[in-house]
Symmetry: C2
Subunit: 219 residues, 2 copies
């Protein structure tokens, strides 16, 4: 399997926060926004902000900062969020339902056009406006709509077989919320969301705070 | 505000996957597990594995690899996952419910002892074994149990006021699933989960795959 490396992954991960912050500051900022203002709002170093935003191809002007409109366009363009992207969700459990109602997606050009489940009680419902369809129709629906992006929220034991079916139907990107490390063809991108990662960070931060309070310098 | 930096954040984020993988490979591996085996399972470079695991203080033996038991203990110890940690959840919506049923938490020493909500229809329920209590009792409950960790899944407009109340009740770490950047005292750790970050990564990976297929070299 060809290993896929995304350079500057931490910078990419921060881009949505930049987008959110710049949009929020847009009214007060006027035509230009300074890197320092963005850095303050996000609790980052100004040099980090410059480096992160540089991956989108934009460079600020000395003393003026970034042109706001161009900055928003650069981030959205880099992420491909400037065009509408249709997606389906598979597995309408609590997490699936939470994601179906996640309002931020709209701002990122992500449009959930359908959700699939095998539970007859759920099939036919509309949740946050998204229709729930039978998993048995997923293949034909994905093909006919030409959808390339799928959000996977099925229980772990069904994860691989569902991913196989999605790939066969033409899905090119799977946002994987299961705890299974999926095997997919080289042409398919997978992003695994691991809640445990965030929890690990919280634990380490809490330990660091306690050490600080006890007079230790943070590492 | 003192800026808190966690060195090696990407390594910390990967530790839960190492723990998961080493536990899975434990049976076949025997007493020692090689860094290469771990690297293959996680699709990482062996040098990256060595660097990541080194933050926990463990170092592999040449030709033998890592002693499995000691490796598990080192990771769990570093994360503080070797002792039980009580936590509360605030905001029993779909995401809250999904997290209440998230089985991995058990393996990380995280024990949800209560969830809080303001909806009378939810108060008194048990969801995945966790009792839902009135938000009005949160302060007294948190104080009496001495809970230090909270998971925040309330709607955005209630996020800051809830965080204020939690901090006042003695909470030292907030796992923030809202889209609000919380203001908390210096002594409180916050880990913000931003689903948009993962989606940004998926989009960039999908773009990279398409470029590769069209004959471009990945950056």
């Amino acid at each position: 399997m060809v290993k896929q490396k995304i350079s500057a992954a931490p910078s990419v991960r921060r881009l949505p926060s930049y987008l959110h912050t710049v949009r929020q500051l847009q009214k007060e900022a006027g035509e230009y926004i300074s890197g320092t203002l963005i850095a303050d709002a996000l609790n980052l170093e100004p040099i980090q902000v410059r480096k992160d935003l540089a991956i989108t191809g934009i460079i600020g002007k000395p003393k003026k900062g970034y042109p706001v409109e161009a900055l928003i366009n650069a981030i959205e363009g880099f992420l491909g969020w400037d065009t509408l992207r249709d997606a389906v969700l598979v597995g309408v459990g609590n997490l699936g339902m939470a994601l179906m109602g996640y309002e931020e997606f709209r701002y990122h050009g992500l449009r959930l056009i359908a959700a699939f489940d095998r539970n007859p009680k759920k099939i036919g419902l509309r949740i946050h406006g998204v229709p729930v369809l039978s998993i048995d129709t997923a293949d034909i629906q994905i093909r006919s709509f030409g959808v390339k992006t799928a959000i996977l929220t099925v229980p772990g034991p069904f994860a691989q077989e569902t991913a196989d079916a999605l790939t066969k139907a033409g899905i090119e990107g799977i946002w994987n919320f299961t705890n299974v490390k999926l095997k997919v063809p080289d042409t398919v991108a997978v992003q695994k969301e691991d809640l445990s990662s965030g929890y690990a960070m919280l634990c380490v931060k809490m330990q660091a705070k306690r050490l600080e309070e006890n007079g230790f310098k943070p590492r």
